[in-house]
Amino acid sequence: MTAPRKLLIIGGLALAAWGMAYGIFYAVFIEHQTLDGLGGALASGFMRAAERRMTESQAALADAASRSFVYVRQVDAHGHWIGLGLLLVILGISFDRVGFQEKGRLVLALMLLAGSALFPLGVLLETWNRGPGPQAIAVLGSALVIFGLFGTVWGFARGD
């Protein structure tokens, strides 16, 4: 098996396994608490408004928005790690058909693997730090995946 194929298949399986492990940890220890908190904060926002306690109402709705921000990114990171892992394995199976020299294929495989690991990591880091750092990691990761896929499409079109 060539190095680019091995990198994509083993890297993809590892990434998918990591995504599933994170999903199990998240589902057991975080998700239910997050959803309960989100629903409770929304209901509380409206109930406090009905009692005309508007400061508390606005605080509860802001809390709900913050919980929703975290929930969306945790689910996205979990789903994208698994989905990208599966994509890497599938591309890895047929990667010898990408019509470039082995060195070129290796560069493409490295771009795809690094991007697939970094993009969801950046998204997840946004839940701890809402500054530009995590966003930059997510943008870099997604750019690596997009350019890697562009090269792969080009390579498939050239044929082997």
């Binding site: 929304l42 926002g45 109930m47 009905a50 606005q58 928005a65 599938i90 199976i93 997604s142 997009i146």
Partner: protein, 375 residues
């Protein structure tokens, strides 16, 4: 066209796959047919879900939000709480349907992937068959269980928080996990020994026109999906999240000020915003999933027992449908129901192409099993 013509077509296909791993009721055959059936089932369920549950449910959520704003205006905190309890029920109904649809299709993809990997999984054929069956049982049990959660609830459950439907869904998940774990161990054993089965490369060496179109087209679809996702995340996601919070706040503030028309308008805008987010996420997810499906189906073209012309037609049909569905889902915001209808046509094209390929694979297996077959 006679059966011998078909045999000629198949025999002349370059890179024709060996039937060694596609034997009668073998693990690979079970996973290919079961995988495509799961994807078809999941897609048809998705269509039914979109028409009969998604849209009516969105209306019910909107009505419950209006009830909540009225309760706020009437200074009735219990009424507001009850409205949100109803919304929770509607969201559970929607969430379990989406999960059943998504898991069925994802398990179908994993089944096709496992079928591809069977020749390099170093375990006995008897065990391969057992774990293929276990995977397919689990892949069916989980979505059926998830689908039933909303209806079964906690009836006759021995547990205080988890109902029977959830228990069976989790059991299905356990079956799938066990089967995948054994396949991974088999793969690992193969990598360690590096005694690859020569037939493993056969389906991967397929160079037909249909296979190349599916491979390049599928990768292009995945790339387009990624570009759209990156655009959505960069240009819209944060803006929509901020707007979401503003509208919820406006509902509460206006209702508390007894401005019910203003609160109702905020509810309407909130519904519109949820629709905008939903179509963007659906377009992003569907184009990538269809791309992965096209790449996977490229590998199985040697097993599609149809004339080359028909194989090309179904490959093009699948790619066109895969592009049309997400594109017209996005255009629903501007074109309304007309675009929704065209998106459904796109989904139908994918289902028809997939069904045609399933029939082709079925014919291939029939040919293999026929007495006196040379395959």
């Amino acid at each position: 066209m006679t059966a011998s013509d078909h045999s000629l077509d198949i025999a002349m296909t370059p890179g024709m796959a060996s039937s060694v791993d596609f034997q009668q009721m073998g693990a690979q055959r079970m996973l290919v047919i079961g995988g495509i059936a799961l994807i078809l089932g999941g897609m048809i369920l998705g269509d039914i879900f979109a028409v009969f549950i998604l849209h009516p449910n969105a209306d019910r959520i909107g009505a419950a939000l209006v009830d909540a704003t009225r309760a706020v205006a009437a200074q009735d905190p219990h009424g507001a709480g009850a409205a949100f309890a109803k919304i929770g029920g509607y969201l559970e109904n929607r969430g379990t349907k989406v999960d059943a649809h998504a898991h069925m299709i994802s398990f179908g993809y994993i089944a096709l992937l496992l079928a591809l990997l069977q020749p390099v999984v170093a375990i006995s054929e008897a065990r391969k068959k057992f774990f293929a069956k276990l995977f397919l049982w689990g892949a069916t049990l989980l979505p059926v269980g998830v689908f039933l959660i909303h209806y079964v609830g906690l009836a006759w459950s021995p547990l205080s928080a988890i109902g029977w439907a959830s228990i069976f869904a989790d059991l299905g998940g356990l079956f799938v996990f066990l089967a995948c774990a054994v396949e991974l161990i088999g793969l690992w054993r193969n990598f360690r020994n590096m005694k690859a089965n020569p037939s493993a490369e056969a389906p991967l060496s397929e160079r037909s026109w249909a296979a190349r179109v599916l491979l390049a087209g599928g990768t292009l679809l995945v790339m387009l999906g990624f570009l759209h996702g990156a655009w959505y995340a960069g240009a819209d996601l944060y803006r929509y999240e901020a707007r979401d919070n503003e509208l919820l706040s406006a509902m509460a503030v206006k209702a508390a000020a007894n401005d019910l028309p203003g609160a109702t308008e905020a509810v309407r805008d909130y519904g519109g915003l949820q629709g905008t987010k939903a179509v963007n996420i659906a377009a992003h997810a569907h184009i990538i999933e269809f791309g992965i499906l096209a790449i996977l189906l490229a590998f199985f073209q040697p097993y599609v027992f149809l004339r080359e012309n028909w194989k090309r037609i179904w490959a093009i049909t699948l790619i066109v449908g895969s592009l049309a569905l997400p594109l017209f889902v996005l255009l629903e915001l501007q074109w309304g129901l007309f675009a929704g209808g065209l998106a459904d046509v796109g989904g139908l094209l994918v289902i028809i192409a997939l069904f045609a390929m399933l029939i082709g694979i079925w014919r291939y297996t029939g040919n293999l099993d026929a007495p006196g077959s040379e395959q």
